[in-house]
Symmetry: C2
Subunit: 612 residues, 2 copies
Amino acid sequence: MFKKIKSILIGKAIKSTESEHQKFSVIWGLPILSSDAISSVSYASEEILMVLVPVIGMASYKPMMAIAAAIVCLLVILVFSYRQTIDCYPQGGGSYRVASENIGRIPGLVAAASLSTDYVLTVAVSTCAGTAAITSAFPELLPYRVGITLFLILVLTLGNLRGIRESSILFGVPTYLFVFSILAMIVTGIVRVLVLGQVPQNVPVPQQSIQDISVFLILRAFASGCTALTGVEAISDGVPNFKAPSQKNAKRVLVMLASLVFVIFIGVCYLASMYHVTPKSDITVVAQIATGVFGRDSMMFYLVQATTALILVMAANTAFADLPLLLSLLAKDGFVARSFATRGTRLSFSNGIMLLFILSSTLVIVFKADQHHLLPLYAVGVFLSFTLSQTGMFRRWITRKEGKWRHKAVINGCGAIVSAITCIVLSVTKFLLGAWVVLICIPALICLMLVIRRHYDKVRDNLVIEKSGNELIHKVPTENCIILPIQSVNKSFVKALNYAMTLGGKIEIYHVSTDQAATEKLINQYRQLKVDFPLVIEEAPYRNVNEMLIAHVDARLARLEPHQMLTVVLPQFIIPKSWHYLLHNQTSLRLKSALLKRRDVAVISVPYIINE
Amino acid sequence: MFKKIKSILIGKAIKSTESEHQKFSVIWGLPILSSDAISSVSYASEEILMVLVPVIGMASYKPMMAIAAAIVCLLVILVFSYRQTIDCYPQGGGSYRVASENIGRIPGLVAAASLSTDYVLTVAVSTCAGTAAITSAFPELLPYRVGITLFLILVLTLGNLRGIRESSILFGVPTYLFVFSILAMIVTGIVRVLVLGQVPQNVPVPQQSIQDISVFLILRAFASGCTALTGVEAISDGVPNFKAPSQKNAKRVLVMLASLVFVIFIGVCYLASMYHVTPKSDITVVAQIATGVFGRDSMMFYLVQATTALILVMAANTAFADLPLLLSLLAKDGFVARSFATRGTRLSFSNGIMLLFILSSTLVIVFKADQHHLLPLYAVGVFLSFTLSQTGMFRRWITRKEGKWRHKAVINGCGAIVSAITCIVLSVTKFLLGAWVVLICIPALICLMLVIRRHYDKVRDNLVIEKSGNELIHKVPTENCIILPIQSVNKSFVKALNYAMTLGGKIEIYHVSTDQAATEKLINQYRQLKVDFPLVIEEAPYRNVNEMLIAHVDARLARLEPHQMLTVVLPQFIIPKSWHYLLHNQTSLRLKSALLKRRDVAVISVPYIINE
């Protein structure tokens, strides 16, 4: 039943040998690996305005352009830094790998923890923003935004459990459509404003605020805009997915990605200031610009909204591809549960996908699908992992001293310093808005990973065979001591007895008496079996049958020879309908788990199947 | 930890031999067995008024007296009927026993089902009414009535799990105190009204309604008042608890009980009409009368309230004593889960007590501790069991024809007919108010009991040994076929192998390969053990290790000789901290339960304990 539903939802099992991976050319690698970075532009300018407008009103647009310029500078530095990472890591240079290889285990785990929280937030933020794009076009859907967002996450989960191949057309076309429509919007807007001189109509001009612009305000706006840079590291992670020459292609795509982010981000910010757009709760900034440029009912308006929603969903999908992969790396290193390294029936890392589904859905429900509440939590982790990755590269250069290492160390050092500063700015300005949650989560995750690793180490130490395995094999098998508990003489008991007789050991039948009459009946029935194994009877004045049996087992264990084991044979009857188990004492289950905690007790269940 | 809490809450275990039962004299038997019946009087007059006053206002008091007289007549008939039951059942004549012995299995189950629902309702109704008595005295406690009621139920549950002996003083004194204070109230009231001619003061006189009094209204008021008769059967259930001559004493107590109910019920109804008491949501009728007679701040007012609350809690306690006993009878007959017949550490039927706790608490929470909503559900079951018990007695007389059987059959026949008529009146007039719930619950319970009995019968048929048991014992033990699955060569596996070697059978090591490299490493390590058992390796292209193993077991099963069994030895490592199990695959658990469903597979768990 469960299997059938599963196979309908996610498809039939795939053989391990059918695993394959498509390689990207530059033309498809760009859209597929950069959806996260490009899509984040759609909410970055809105975030800046949300900080500025409530304080300084219509005076916001100039500082916004300055902040956008600063963010673009940051982008340029990151691009140069990551080009060097691509050069050094042809097998893919994720922050976890770069940091742990070059700095150490703990920085690696910090990167892993911050990346993990970020992937979860990427899914939540992107799907919420996607829903916002949809509800901006269709305001009547606004009351259902939590449901719509959860539906999007569910579709992504099922798709990834099914194991969506990174199909060029499915994943590349939406990004190009978005780039096309947003560029069309920017060009049309600029032409209308600058060339045709059309003053935007129907734009409400709120009252100008006269407060001073504080440094903290600017920093906070800058921090909010930094969400535009999330997803930049995806290309250096994905180097091996490029067609040869893979590193060269990856670097090309990185530069193209940066150029696109540059043009779109600056363009959107510029149009926002031209059209005096202010952030509203029911319509996004991009949708307001599109309304201003194309008009509310034009096809282009709907195209911009549709492609924005699509690319945001694609961005969430990259997290669905990357977090399970990261978790599988961590699982192989023993930092998270091993089950995250197991591939499901469809070869996807299904446990990681399910975990991401649960966590991101919870966030969406808790934050009522409002990405503005989620974004303060978002970028801290990204910049923390940037910092660690760049610091790792810096240490690599100054330790290995290969080639033009001084020059390269300066570039990565620069990257590390700017990322670190940004990270601090983000933490401080957004601390009270929610960044504190992340700053608690990351250390907690690291502790958890270390505890898990310690556990796996202990288990391995316990299990590993140091000396030649042959010495551990007992040359002379010891005699078996068998205890067969009995409650009444019935077919199930007789079956267990017949089985115990095949084991060739000393059998003892053991009964705990709670009722004189029943015990006498039992003795009589046992005599009729005409077998000559001793029947040991103990009285349980407190009716604690299991405890008596366990005490008896413990007493026998004390008298065992070295290497000898005690065998407890438990007759167990099996009932077809599982609710019927409510009608029977589950004492044998509790008994079993108690017995298994004893080092030298083997427990045998002999099933007796009840026909109905 | 859990054990410690348990022993603090309910005390240390008691030996089976320490079971004892106190016998009652008339003087203590009366209060102990009649708290249910006497206490119900405290809300019966209120229920009658609640039906009449909203329709006919101040004209209610005359019909109320007539209805009270009718209910008292019903009581007299029941007393005569139950005297005969006491004569015939010196070992206690509960409805379940009388109906099943004399009419048949299904009527017995109907009686059992209706009694069970009634016991649950008794607890809920009595504790709610007890809380109402408390909040009438202290109106500031009104908002906490659900909490107070649940607390009362919890105290009763813990007390009964502890195994309260039916201590004369603890249980008898509150009843006598109640009887004393309520009689004092009635006498004082009558003296003040009739002798001293004091007209009650401060009594609001609502507008007189002029509507006609319909027959249906009178019947509905009658039905509401019938709750006064609940608990009358308790004495015939408890005959063996009386000192010799037990039947004579029981009959005496029955008559005394009836007289008390008669006096108190008529007295309360009379005073209610004299003081023009109308039902209110925040103060009970008894409390209003007590206010009128003694004044709001007198000590007697508080005494009446306190003793009313106490006797109502005692009444709930009788259900805590009787339902677990009924369930244990049903369990012995196989109509409910056998665990209800097991005595807990303190010799009480702890499972029945826990069930009663859960059900009555749920009712209290659902109905927000308002007994007026619960009472319509209440009396139907009582009168159904009266009817069946009396019909049983009637059939007993006309079948056995012993002594003055004609005379006695007429009395029990009368009792049966009146009970049946009352039961029908109750069902019809209160159907929409909630009686329909009971009329669905009772058949559902009966079906459930029959299904359970059928299951137990099937299990017994499967297990019982018909022929001489000796024939079932295999004279020549067959050879053991042992399969030992392996994932990697480690100490846990070696331990399981050493153990398997003691079993003296043909051992096969079985490995499912999902990873070529890992399998080759395994083969090498296995060679180093230098044992010569065959290592069977199967490829799992779909990574479904468990399914492959089960298929292999099934293939081997098909080739077994008759009576031969297959043994699967599972190395199982045991981790001290239970949350660490999250870090390990639980596949072996699922494997075990799948293997146990196969008729001829014995599963052996060999524990390997991991030290931390």
